[in-house]
Symmetry: C5
Subunit: 260 residues, 5 copies
């Protein structure tokens, strides 16, 4: 679980409720189903117009990704690739076939399979990078959808407020309802702004982070697979792959290697 | 039919009406011909100033494209190109002449015709890419027009609201008309925002998607035509073309190929 | 005359007047010399600060360009260049000297003159592209000026409204003038928005279009001049130049060529 | 003196005063020291946070540059460089030493000195371009500072208005002060907008123009110095340097050359 | 200490207080804990959603960097590198081992260590540039965080104001509280704008400056280390490194060198 996402959204929501109490307001007055329907429903409707339906329907799936703390265990991956490299140099590339079963990551398994099959390095490279490209395109499409929602939500919040003002103004003679009418009208702007600034805008950034993290792992895999096939020195391979990690994590791997 | 566009626009409109009822308003009060004339008419007038007239007059045509669910049948196209490739290797490039009649797509027919005529590959490539370029330029001009409308609509919505406020303020002594005057003034902003955020903004994205999809099909055709002329191995051609599709659709073709 | 510009501006203005009548307002109340002075004058003053004076004073000239329907007669130009090419191959480059007189376009005449003078092709190319560059820089500076006005007009519209509100608020005790004061204050925003969204914003796009059209013609000329000097085959030259036109116009030239 | 800057700023200011009179206001009511302190002072304070102190303190110097009409006398420079070129070809590079004294421009003098010293052309080129780069970086930093002020001024204008509104609202019971309070509150927005749209925004553009003009002169110098060292033909050098000027000014030089 | 940051923030704050007094307000009325909680807390909560938690928790550290006046002593660094270069040419690269202890900068020590170890120049270059890259990525992530806060603060300021307006409007019958309610509601917008325009927006620029300054120092180090290993002439090395400094500071070094 990515605690930051949970803490941020729940904490931000709690702050709003505290602010309402503190300001002498009633939190229940901030809950209005009609306003939610206009803001969220309107923004969703606009997504259906602009994006393929299948993508809009997968929105929940994309959001769930932001909640999962990614654990790609790059360190473990690198030592695994180094072990494969040593084995391949000792016993030949075909010996890697026995390890295929254990590999959980489909991308890595596919790459090693191609090496075992004796595929041409250029073709392996182009197949794997093509695969990575497609993954990143899917991620980008998902991030664009979330980004679009974060922009449409305040737009429909504003539309809802204008709608509410028009209703209120049409019966302005009844002075007693002006205040309440305007308060309700402003609710959609409030919802739209919270949805955008507290939730969907930041979640879009998180999706971009997740994409970058996964792309790094896949690039380490591609680099490793091609080095194994090329018969590179396992020490040099390890150094090369470690250089792809940030310095802090690099040290961790080195210390562990020194211990062994 | 692209159901998403229909669902989104009708659904979004329905939500607005529901919201008006729910808020105690009268949907008929939201219909004001003068406001529609100012918002839509003003935005259209500005398009005439900034774009060639012929393009503005084709706006409906562009919008209809977004309603059509594109069905380029890339899978069928690829197997067709592979069949051509096999035939050409077996019976020579001239044998493709018999198939020209059956080809519905003008772009593909033109390309195969050039191959049959024995045109130089470099020239075929430049002719077809030039053609693709011109298609994409037309698409881009159409998308820019829609995009422009989606930005001018809220601008004229705002202009209409200021116009309404000025009228209302000029006779502010008559207190009973203030509310109604402001309500009517706000209608143009409401129209402009809905036109932009629910309809034309998202439709512009859809047009961009349609362009990308058509460009992909044309690129598959160009790649296929040049490979056929070059006498490439049909298996390699198939693999190359499949790599241009997203992974899911790729599998579908492979499974079908395996069945056969 | 570019009818679109006329129709758009007059039509947009007419729509505003219709809207005012329809809304029960008096169009004369929308005419206020002081507001025009602040909005237009202020925006013009800011142009003098940011642009060279000579350029600001040529603004009217730039605007007149957008009214002229460009008629570069690319088709005629291409057949002219092809005729030159044939003549040069038959009778030598010097024979083109006789045709120099008839050439109306200065750019083309200069290019052919350089060819007749036996100037080095590299130098011709650099001279003509340098000339084209300077033309495009002038166009870009003009477009930037118009663009700047389209952004300053609403800014000074807003400044005028604030100015009007301050005046109105300073004597708010006189309740009877509040409405009229605010109405007048809003006029500058109204003027600024119309100037920007109906007129100068779109005109800037038109200027960009005009620039692109002229650049295309000049590029066709450069390509043609260099091909004539290089002694290229007139048929290949024609095909090359036609490819620089959009498909529709290309066909027109071919059909005419076939008729002859 | 750059008359445009003077005319624009004074003219714009005069227009505002005329507008105030015309609208029935009192220009003195638009002068409020507290509002000036908040708008200008606040924007300046924010510059101290974001830019090096020395640069903020040089702001006046940067602004003075925009007032000076640049007179780089490119035409005179070019004929001077051509004269040097002829002399160097006739009497050798060392002969240029006599002319060093007369050169007012430090950049040019440094370049000629390097040539006289027999420095390697590659090193001269890298030294002079490095110098030019540093000059442009200083210009860019100055332009960014002015640009930043033009954005912070309206921001602090808005902050001042909110500040004024809060003060006014806190004692809203006293109805007689509402109007005056709001009028004063709006003054900061008025100041911020004028500072940004009439003065600092356009001045930033002027600084960019000045930078481009000076860079052009320095590039002509570098081109000339290197050609002199390389012993290029003075006629070719003149043609090359003239091509760096806009066409109009080019003609002026040629006509003068023809007269001589 | 970077005085500019201190002067700017304290000065800007003082100006606000002066402005409040001058406008007849009570500075204590501008202090409202609930408003601070909503603006600052809400913006922080949104940072937790969009950024890794560890980065948000380091925010204070990033801010402290902007307060420290960087003193990289490039001049001293350059003469140190020149001294090393001379020593290495006289006594061999191994002789530098004695100086390693004294080096405070870890980056420089690591580089010299690699040289002493006889590592391949290409590998040293890639290790050091990789290190520099990682440093800059960390800086960029920090700057993005501060930038994000500077954008979220006014957003939550606006959210707080809407929240306050809704509370106030819900009990609008009590006329006496309207003014105070609105005043309090506007406080969050005031806080958000000050946080963004006076503090965090400018601090982001300062962080970018700090990053550029540190990158320059590291680049001087890399250049120097590689030149020492390559056995370049110490004079040429000095000239090369000096060229990386702005002209003013360059002169200072040269004058000192001349004095010695």
């Amino acid at each position: 679980m990515d605690l930051g996402v949970i803490i941020g959204i729940l904490g931000g929501g709690a702050l709003m409720i505290i602010g309402i109490f503190w300001g002498g307001g009633n939190p229940m007055a901030f809950f209005d189903p009609a306003s939610i329907v206009i803001t969220v429903g309107g923004a969703l409707a606009s997504l259906f117009v602009g994006h393929p339906m299948s993508r809009v329907l997968s929105m929940i799936t994309y959001l769930r990704i932001t909640l999962r703390q990614p654990n790609f265990q790059e360190e473990r991956l690198i030592s695994q690739l180094v072990t494969f490299s040593e084995k391949a140099r000792r016993e030949g590339l075909l010996a890697l076939e026995d390890d295929l079963e254990e590999l959980e990551d489909e991308f890595l398994r596919k790459g090693i399979q191609l090496v075992v099959d004796g595929t041409d390095p250029e073709i392996i490279k182009s197949i794997l990078y093509n695969e990575l490209n497609q993954i990143q395109n899917r991620h980008k499409a998902a991030a664009l959808l979330i980004d679009d929602f974060s922009k449409q939500a305040p737009a429909f919040g504003m539309i809802g407020t204008i709608l509410g003002l028009i209703i209120m103004l049409a019966r302005i003679e009844d002075r007693s309802t002006i205040g309440k009418g305007m308060a309700v009208a402003l609710l959609t702007t409030f919802y739209g702004a919270l949805l955008s600034y507290l939730i969907f805008g930041p979640l879009k950034k998180k999706l971009d982070d997740r994409d970058a993290a996964e792309a790094l792992v896949k690039e380490i895999m591609i680099e490793g697979i091609l080095s194994i096939q090329g018969g590179d020195n396992p020490r040099i391979l390890e150094e090369k792959l470690l250089c792809m990690l940030p310095p802090g994590r690099r040290e961790a791997v080195r210390q562990q290697a020194a211990k062994e």
